[in-house]
């Protein structure tokens, strides 16, 4: 037996029991029209103060010659990494991965605001909530929508169904079907964070070398 076979996958999660639940999200850049309904819905449902946001749609472009012009819309929000750098560096365990759902969550009581998680997040999506003084970010609406059996606010608000949210471990879910039918990419996979926010790259966007 080779020694390599007993080596664990790097930073694989070692949870013993399988809850059969692991949430993930797909953002289809081809369907997204950059209307920001997701951002507004998130702000309202999760009481996110103005000046900060849990989700941001970044627009680039236009590409092409008038009248055949298009934009690219990229979603910036928590990637819910399997090997989350923020969870690893948090000194108090305030940043943690919910074993049940795979959601990267924040325990507000434990956070002291050292901002190590904000510096550690390679996606730069964490922020200090100016009202609670606590590190804040997207939690897939775990405390608001999911607890009532609803889909995340951004998903429900999206007029073009550019967002698909669901259980990665359910092969019949719309999420897995989307992932299997469309080519997707994830940001900064080379850092080994294994993010669970998938993107479908826009067809019309520019090509960057």
């Amino acid at each position: 037996m080779s020694v390599y076979t007993v080596t664990k996958a790097p930073q694989a999660n070692t949870s013993e029991q399988d809850s059969g639940l692991k949430y993930a999200m797909v953002h289809d850049e081809n369907l997204c029209i950059g209307c920001n309904a997701c951002e507004d819905a998130c702000r309202e449902v999760n009481h996110v103060p103005y000046g900060v946001t849990r989700v941001k749609i970044e627009r680039s472009g236009p590409f092409g010659e008038y009248p055949d012009q298009s934009y690219r819309f990229i979603r910036h929000s928590c990637q819910h990494c399997e090997a989350a750098p923020c969870v690893k560096v948090c000194p108090t365990g305030a940043a943690y991965i919910d074993k049940e759902t795979g959601i990267v969550a924040v325990n507000e009581d434990r956070c002291v605001g050292c901002q190590y998680c904000i510096a550690a997040c390679p996606y730069q999506i964490r922020f200090i909530n100016p009202e609670t003084k606590v590190a804040d970010k997207c939690d897939f609406c775990q405390q608001t929508q999911l607890s009532e059996g609803l889909q995340p606010a951004c998903v429900l608000a999206c007029p073009t169904n550019a967002l698909v949210f669901g259980n990665l471990k359910d092969p019949d879910s719309a999420l897995v079907k989307t992932l299997k039918s469309k080519p997707t990419y994830r940001e900064k996979v080379d850092l080994g964070t294994r993010p669970k926010l998938f993107h479908v790259r826009t067809i019309d966007g520019e090509i960057v070398l």
Binding site: V112, G113, Y116, I118, A119, P122, V134
Partner: protein, 313 residues
């Protein structure tokens, strides 16, 4: 985008001062221990340099921690860091080291200065007197543990930054070593400066001893700095871009070449070499050399902290 305000900046200059003070404290204690062990033996408590280190080390580490607590968004919740621990977090383990370091630091000061303190007490406070006697009896153990803790503290500030995987300039294996060595040299400088200010002999055995170590230490620091940036440049990609942005033109490039390399390393090295050949050391030489080293290390901390955070991948 300016030198002190840019997107992605999380930790500002107070953190750089904390990193500076923690390293300085560790270095001062390290050199006080070396002085006592190799040169002064039982008379160490009479040396103004050891006395200076015994004041500088606790004041610096406490001031640094004070700055750190004030920099939290919830300063009153700082005690939660002391209660909850996360073994995968460098900061969490650093808090443990800092706690142990402070306890052992005070124990060491008590043991080294036990005889003058006992004299001053004159049988008052018998409990404190007994405690001091106990500390003095175990001085060798306390000293050994403190050496390890001071080196851990010196390296910890580097590990704290190198754990940030999104910044190629910070996520660098040489950084903890660079911080350790520069922290030690800042501690040596602070001990020298404090010692001569407390009327220590600028031509004394302590200054000669520390200066002899300082020359190779500056050379090692230059080598580490060189390895740090050449390593980044040879890694290519974003690491190379980050390194060349930091030490190229612009505000931080000036700080690096003029402040860190010029004032912080080249001048102290030149002064040290010159003092080695000239037989007589004077107050001004020692004080100026030490001040330059201190300025250099403080600038290095700021330089690394700011340019590091500029370079998110």
């Amino acid at each position: 985008m300016s030198a002190f305000h840019f997107d992605g900046l999380v930790w500002h200059w107070p953190i750089a001062i904390y990193l500076f003070l923690a390293g300085l404290s560790a270095g001062a204690v390290f050199f006080a221990i070396m002085l006592k062990h190799f040169k002064l033996a039982d008379k160490a408590y009479l040396s103004p340099f050891v006395q200076a280190a015994a004041v500088i080390a606790p004041v610096a580490v406490c001031a640094g921690l004070g700055i750190l607590v004030m920099d939290l968004t919830k300063p009153l919740a700082f005690w939660k860091i002391l209660v909850f621990y996360n073994p995968s977090s460098v900061m969490s383990m650093g808090v443990l080291v800092l706690l142990a370091y402070q306890v052992v630091l005070f124990a060491w000061i008590g043991s080294v200065f036990s005889s003058p303190i006992q004299q001053w007490l004159k049988q008052r406070l018998p409990l404190l007197s007994k405690l001091l006697a106990l500390l003095a009896r175990h001085e060798d153990v306390i000293t050994g543990v403190l050496v390890i803790l001071s080196l851990s503290l010196g390296a910890y500030t580097g590990f704290l930054l190198s754990a940030l995987i999104g910044f190629p300039l910070l996520n660098n294996p040489v950084l903890p070593l660079l911080f350790l060595i520069s922290g030690l040299s800042s501690g040596a400088a602070a001990t020298l400066l404090g010692g001569v200010l407390m009327r220590g002999n600028p031509n004394g055995v302590e200054v000669r001893f520390i200066h002899r170590i300082e020359i190779p230490m500056i050379l090692v620091e230059i080598m580490l700095l060189f390895t740090f940036f050449v390593g980044l440049i040879l890694s290519g990609g974003q690491s190379e871009v980050a390194a060349l942005n930091a030490i190229g033109e612009g505000f931080w490039g000036w700080i690096f070449w003029g402040g860190v390399v010029g004032v912080g390393l080249t001048l102290p090295l030149a002064f040290n070499l010159w003092m080695k050949v000239s037989s007589d050391r004077k107050f001004a030489y020692v004080a100026v050399t030490a001040s330059f080293s201190l300025i250099g290390v403080l600038l290095l901390r700021n330089f690394i902290l700011y340019t590091g955070q500029m370079t998110g991948v």
